[in-house]
Each structure stands twice: as C-alpha cells, then as structure tokens.
C-alpha cells in the first residue's frame, strides 16, 4: 500500500519536474548580467592566452580548455548531428560527443591564432528569444575591429555558450553543414563519423 502511494507520488512529481523545466527562463539563475559575466570571464581567459607569449602549440591546448569550460559542447555536438542522433544508441552517442569535443576544440583553438596580440572586449548584452546574446568586438593588429556575438543559455544547468557568430557567420550552422556532409560520406553511420572526427580538426 505504502509503496503504491509513493509510486503515485513519484508519478505526480514527474510532471511537476517537467513544469519546472518549462518555467520562463528569467525565473532561473541566468540573466543578462550572468551571461555577460560568463563571456567576460571566457574572454579574459582568451586574452590572457593570446598575450601570454607562449608557443602557439601550447596556446592551442589552452584554447581547448577554455572551449570545454565555457561552451556546452554536448549540446553543440547533438545539435550539429541533427535528426540522425534520434534513437541512436547511447554509447554510440557518448563516443560521438567525446570525439566532437576534441574536433571542435582543435578546430576553433586553431582559429584563435589570428587573435594573438589582439584583444576582445564585451560591449553589450541582451535577452534574445529564450536565451541571452553577449556582443563583443575583436581588435586585431592592423585590422578593422569586427563583431563577435556569443549566445548563452543554462540548458545543462550551467551557464555556457552554445553558439558564436563572427560577422554573421554562425558556428552552429557551419557545424551542421560540416557534420551533415561527414555523416553522408559515412553513409549515415555515427560510429564511422566518430572515427573520422577523432582524426579531424
């Protein structure tokens, strides 16, 4: 009898939990200030690395760590994979996400090389749809400053960014195209795609 009640309580608790997840975003921890603070901190780390004078190979390692710390890589990986990830085996998906993390950190870590000797500054932050957008400007040597936008959410429970938009070029969209093409090449086989990702970037 008792166990049946507790089971019923448990069943009742599930929709309550689901409802909590659907609460307006403002009720939860993240706000404009929090999003801005996160990107300020990430950019502070990036600026420290690009002005550290370390050899480039050491810098890539640092950039990888920054990426893993501040970005929701699992979300980015799953979103890039798209419909193919639905109903895929859990172990296969976990291996894919792990390979994607290495791939994307290497790829974007390398891109940061152009920032060496420059600096990035947060200029603005605002709510956008159901998340937050932090706007920054990159000042690189001998170049016109350009805009970098960071999209921040707390879907995983942690404040993390899930998209970077550099002068209109959207990282998530680029990775969807890229991962989609890689998956096609591997005839839709996520495990084969994972093996390729481990060697790419």
């Amino acid at each position: 009898m008792d166990s049946r009640i507790s089971r019923r309580a448990l069943i009742a608790a599930v929709p309550a939990g689901a409802a909590l997840a659907l609460l307006p975003r403002g009720v939860l921890a993240l706000d404009v200030g929090g999003a801005r603070a996160l990107i300020d901190k990430a950019i502070g780390d990036v600026n420290r690395v690009i002005n550290s004078g370390k050899p480039e190979s050491a810098m890539y390692k640092d950039f990888e760590q920054i990426f893993v710390r501040y970005a929701d890589v699992r979300y980015i990986a799953q979103s890039a994979l798209g419909p193919a990830g639905r109903g895929a085996d859990k172990a296969v998906m976990n291996a894919y996400v792990k390979a994607f993390q290495g791939y994307i950190s290497r790829k974007y870590g390398k891109r940061f090389r152009e920032f060496i000797g420059g600096r990035i500054e947060v200029t603005d932050a605002r709510p956008l749809k159901s998340f937050f957008e932090v706007i920054s400007v990159a000042h690189l040597k001998g170049q016109s400053p350009f805009e970098v936008r960071w999209h921040v959410f707390d879907k995983s429970g942690k404040n993390q960014f899930f998209n970077i938009i550099i002068e209109g070029v959207n990282m998530l969209a680029a990775e969807r195209t890229e991962i989609g093409a890689m998956l096609d090449r591997n005839r839709g086989d996520i495990a084969a795609l994972t093996a390729v990702l481990q060697k790419t970037g």
């Binding site: 979300y75 980015i76 799953q78 979103s79 994979l81 798209g82 419909p83 990830g85 639905r86 790829k107 390398k110 891109r111 090389r113 152009e114 956008l128 749809k129 159901s130 998340f131 001998g142 170049q143 016109s144 400053p145 999209h151 959410f153 879907k155 899930f162 998209n163 938009i165 002068e167 209109g168 070029v169 959207n170 998530l172 969209a173 680029a174 195209t177 890229e178 093409a181 890689m182 096609d184 090449r185 790419t200 970037g201």
Partner: protein, 246 residues
C-alpha cells in the same frame, strides 16, 4: 557632350543589372537559392584545383607566394584604389557618413600612406567601410537572385555579379591612369588579391581543404557574411526550439 556616352552606358548597365538580379527566385522550402548548383560545383572544383596549384592546398610547408611586407603593401594599395568607388556607392545608397570617412581615408593613405602602400588611416582608427554596387542594388530594392560561383573570383550572387559589372564601368578612377601606368595598377590590384588570399590563408585553407563538403561550407559562410554586411537580419537559432540538441 563627351560624358554622355559613358553615362548612358552605365544607365543601360544598371537597367540590365536590375533585370538580371530579378531572374532567379528561391524554390519554396529550399535552404539556399541555388538553382545552378551543378554548374556552381563544377566551377568551384576548378577554382579549388587552381588554388591548390598556386597556393599549395593547405600544406604547412608551403612558402608564401609573396613575402609578407610586399603582400601587405599590395593589399593596402589595392584597397586604397577601391575607396573612390566605395565613396560613390555610399552616396548612391544615401549614406553620407561612410562616404566622408572613406574619402578621408583615401586622402590620408594616398598622401601620408605613400600612394596607398601604407595604411596610416587604420592606425589612427579611421577604418574602411567596404561597399559596392551590389550593396547599392540591395539598398535600391533589387532581390539577391541565385547563388553563383564565378571562375577565379569565387562565390557571388546574381545581384553581386551585376554589381561588379557596374562597379567596373562607373569606377571614378577610370581614366585616371595613362597608358603604361594602368597596366601597373591592374597588376598591383591582382597582387592585392593574392595578398588577401595569403592574409586569410588559414581560414580559407580550412574551408577549401579540410571541409567534408567545401562547396556547401563556402556557400553557407559566404551568404551569411554577405547578409551581415548588407544588414539583412539573420534567422536566430533558438536552442529551446531545437528538437535535436537534447
């Protein structure tokens, strides 16, 4: 009336450009307006093959085509020669502010910048605001038309191809250089293109040689960046409406 000829020719070109820009409409539901994808891919493959021959295909041991200081000088020189055209286009778009800024850049870099080989304007924070007749057509309401890949020049759109043709004809510097000089100027401009290819070498190599589908990647990046330049609001990607990033 010596100027009537070119003016009329330019007028005819604008009309032709607007007509051309209106011809290809996007298929409903398609992500890109790319009805010539098969032809575009063929041209893209030829461009990549040429790029690989000239620039080394992303091999790290490949020496740069031009020494870095020469490349920087040529890039500055060719950017500077584009300023009068940018000023004209800003005016045609009804945007006096960038016109004034680019005119000031042109004066400063042509004089203090030793004919444009140096870029003191950027050093003092007077940045270039690039524009072209493709943007003018956009401001005037011409549709973008289909995505196109041009031999050598790479990604473009029907509207931007029309813009390039008109820019070539209405460039205020047309006739500014005499017989031998204009060939040197043309050569320097070509050098500027090579210099730009070198300057953004890593990013371009990454797209052309490290992508699973370099055509799809280049089309996406080109159109997103072009729309950003033109001030076209991009579609915002909402993670809470994303069925796949669970």
């Amino acid at each position: 009336m010596p100027s009537a000829g070119p003016a009329r020719a330019a007028g005819a070109l604008v009309a032709a450009a607007l007509l051309l820009a209106g011809c290809a409409k996007q298929e409903p539901g398609a992500e890109f307006n790319d009805p010539f994808e098969a032809e575009n891919r063929a041209v893209h493959n030829a461009n990549v093959a040429l790029d690989r021959t000239v620039f080394g295909g992303g091999r790290p041991d490949r020496k740069p085509f031009l020494p870095a200081p020469v490349a920087a000088g040529l890039a500055n020189f060719s950017d500077n020669l584009g300023m009068p055209s940018a000023v004209l286009n800003s005016l045609l778009q009804g945007r006096p502010d960038p016109a004034v800024r680019n005119a000031a850049r042109f004066v400063m870099n042509t004089t203090a910048g030793l004919g444009g080989f140096l870029d003191p304007a950027t050093a003092v924070g007077l940045y270039a605001e690039d524009t072209d007749f493709g943007e003018t057509l956009h401001v005037w309401g011409a549709p973008e038309g289909a995505f196109l890949v041009l031999p050598l020049a790479g990604p473009s759109t029907e509207r931007d191809v029309a813009g390039k043709v008109v820019d070539f004809v209405i460039d205020p510097l047309n006739g500014a250089f005499g017989e031998p000089e204009k060939y040197y100027v043309a050569a320097a401009k070509l050098g500027g293109k090579v210099a730009d290819r070198q300057r953004y070498g890593d990013v371009i190599d990454d797209i052309l040689y490290n992508s699973a589908d370099s055509y799809a990647q280049m089309r996406l990046l080109y159109l997103q960046n072009r729309h950003y330049e033109l001030g076209i609001e991009a579609e915002v990607f909402d993670p809470y409406e994303d069925p796949y990033g669970q």
